[in-house]
């Protein structure tokens, strides 16, 4: 891991304001920001781990625990909300047996809520990995997730 990290960090040597792109890059590679990774990044940037944590925890994108193989995201934007996203949320919580923000114990699924994907005209929306599903119902959402099992 250390070699890979050093390789990822090298291009940012001396660059101003590189912390967020670095965190994105590292998370992109390892799926989440581990304590070790944070430690290395702090060392590389010549700052403290708490500084790095301070920035990383501010942004919704960053995670500190491993993620499931598939990521199910339910959009709770305004348009999805008025068209029944709450029911979809509940149906999937029931189906996966976890709350949003959590990962199933077998590391198969992570479940997240997202503020808006910008597909409002086709709401409600769910996104599994990188596929966007539009005009979803609670029933359809469960079927879609089943297809990834």
């Amino acid at each position: 891991m250390y070699n890979k990290l050093a390789e990822l960090l090298a291009p940012y040597e001396g660059e101003k304001g590189a912390l967020i792109p670095i965190l994105q890059k590292v998370q992109g590679e390892f799926g989440y920001l581990s304590d070790k990774a944070i430690h290395e990044i702090a060392h590389f940037m010549g700052t403290s781990e708490s500084e790095i944590f301070g920035v990383a925890t501010f942004y919704a994108q960053f995670r500190f625990t491993p993620r499931g193989k598939h990521v199910v995201k339910v959009c709770l934007g305004t348009s999805c909300y008025v068209r029944g996203a709450t029911q979809i949320m509940e149906a999937l919580e029931q189906k996966l047996g976890i709350k949003s923000g959590d990962t199933t114990s077998d590391l198969e699924f992570s479940f997240e809520r997202v503020a808006c994907f910008g597909c409002c005209a086709l709401s409600p929306i769910i996104v599994v990995d990188d596929t966007v599903y539009s005009k979803i119902t609670a029933e359809k959402a469960k079927q879609i997730v089943s297809s990834y099992e």
């Binding site: 101003k16 934007g77 029931q94 005209a121």
Partner: protein
Amino acid sequence: MKFEEIQNRAETEWEALEHSEKPRILVGAATCGRSAGALNVLQTFNEELAQRSIDAIVMQVGCIGLCYLEPLVDIIKPGYPRICYSSVTPEIVPELIEDYLIKDNPRPDLALGTIGDGEVEGIPKFFDLPMLKAQVRIILRHCGTINPEDINHYIAHGGYSGFARAIEMSPGEIIEEIKKSGLRGRGGAGFPTGLKWEFCRKSPGREKYLVCNADEGDPGAFMNRSVLEGDPHSVLEGMLIAAYAIGATHGYIYCRAEYPLALQRLNIALAKMKEYGLLGENILGSGFDFDLEIKEGAGAFVCGEETALMASIEGKRGMPCPRPPFPAQSGIWGKPTNINNVETLATVAAILQKGADWYTQYGTERSKGTKTFALAGKIKRTGLIEVPLGITLRDIIYDIGGGIADDKQFKAVQTGGPSGGCLSDEHLDLPVDYETLTRAGSIMGSGGIIVADEDTCLVDFAKFFLTFTQAESCGKCVPCRVGTRQMLNILERITKGGGEEEDIDKLQKLAETIRDGSLCALGGTAPNPVLTTLRFFRNEYEAHIKEKRCPALVCKELVSYYILPDKCEGCMICLRNCPVGAIKGEKRMVHIIDQDKCTKCGTCLSVCPPRFHAVTKVSGEKIEVPEEPTPVASSK
């Protein structure tokens, strides 16, 4: 290379495409089209054409705005006008190829409209359709028509001629032109763009920054995404013009990570600009140097605020700072910085291409030009529209949007996202411009328009927005951090039936304190949804508080489900489907819901056969039902 040469080459290439013997197939493959299955359609076209050995040009284009009819496919067959087909599925593709491309039947039954010159019997003109008739497309002029990944398509449609004109002018002249156009910031605040540029221009310092704010964070808004996906060069041309006018040497595009396709298209566009000498040193031989880089947002709504956005670019927590100093005086790394929204910049390119006088023919006295709106919610025709400012909300919702979906009643329209307000039917005839919407208690905002119908509970709706802003509050200042939390607690209490008489006054006072006392616009506008719903829909708050009733039957704690004894046929369907076993009964016996066990999931209501219609949902009333299952009415 001289710009004339670049232009000639692009035009020649476009002409060749226009006069090509090959049919052209344009698939609307922006994010909205893709979520409706556009990529499957695209793949099917490629396969089916190959199978028949038909040589055609299949290309991806951006979103033309009729999202509710996605996927949209345009076919341009030599000798025929361009025809747009809607709701295209992979199954329809072979039919279109066989009937239209091979034979000469354009299938009017599947067509939506013809675009451009020429007519086809039985097919209306696309831009005469009700959703498009009132629109004026300036910002969206190329979306759905050109290949966003081909810079030549943009150039052949007049692209970068605005920048070419700009470098013949002095920066002062450009700023005057923008001032004359009356353009105001399209991110929501409506500050005059020319004036903003002038401040930055006059600010001392050799190193200046330009930022394009593409952190479209309002839930319910997708205008900027569509422009970036469908016509990225129009934004980039606007950035070149702005940078030249203010004297910036370096630019950032701050785009949210939730828009992967927009980011991909921007990256392709930047590479092409470099190749064409439109970025870097001595651009088009003018002596003007400018570099651009993309910064990916990391998911924080507050970063749409200028000072927070700059902190984020510097790699810090995205927390706002008090102003002054304004970004024009001291911005990124302490240098003068100018920040404009995606749409503002796309408009700048059009103004420089066609002139301020042309632009001012649209709009009102104080709100010039056009504005894009993302039309969503309980409306028939959802999608992206562009209209001249001054149009009424009624025209937008009814003429363009086709009115309320499923024959329901209109209740409210929310403009400006979580920072905006909910307006009622008494506001429908108000003209949409910056001042009028602000006076009515809402804001123009970045352009989200969400329509709510009779089934939307506005207390719950206000709670939804506040849940969002509360979670997104950066926590720096007390009124916003603590105040929004307190407001949310009160709203939660009200929607759960625990509302107290004085809650309305408390909400009002808290809202005003947060509005006046917060550091940035997030806190300053967060109470707007509550303030406007309190003002225009107070009766709904009162019903929740005084009668413990939710008139729209939304708030779970305040509704109950009952099985009507005179209608139940004892079919066991609801009983079997109830996830918590709260229904008792047997075959041909009236079923009864145990109100203590019921979790109010609504399954019984949705599975009860429509011919029985025996489950009812009520709020604030009790329906008399037998205590134990009795034989059904029809067997008596």
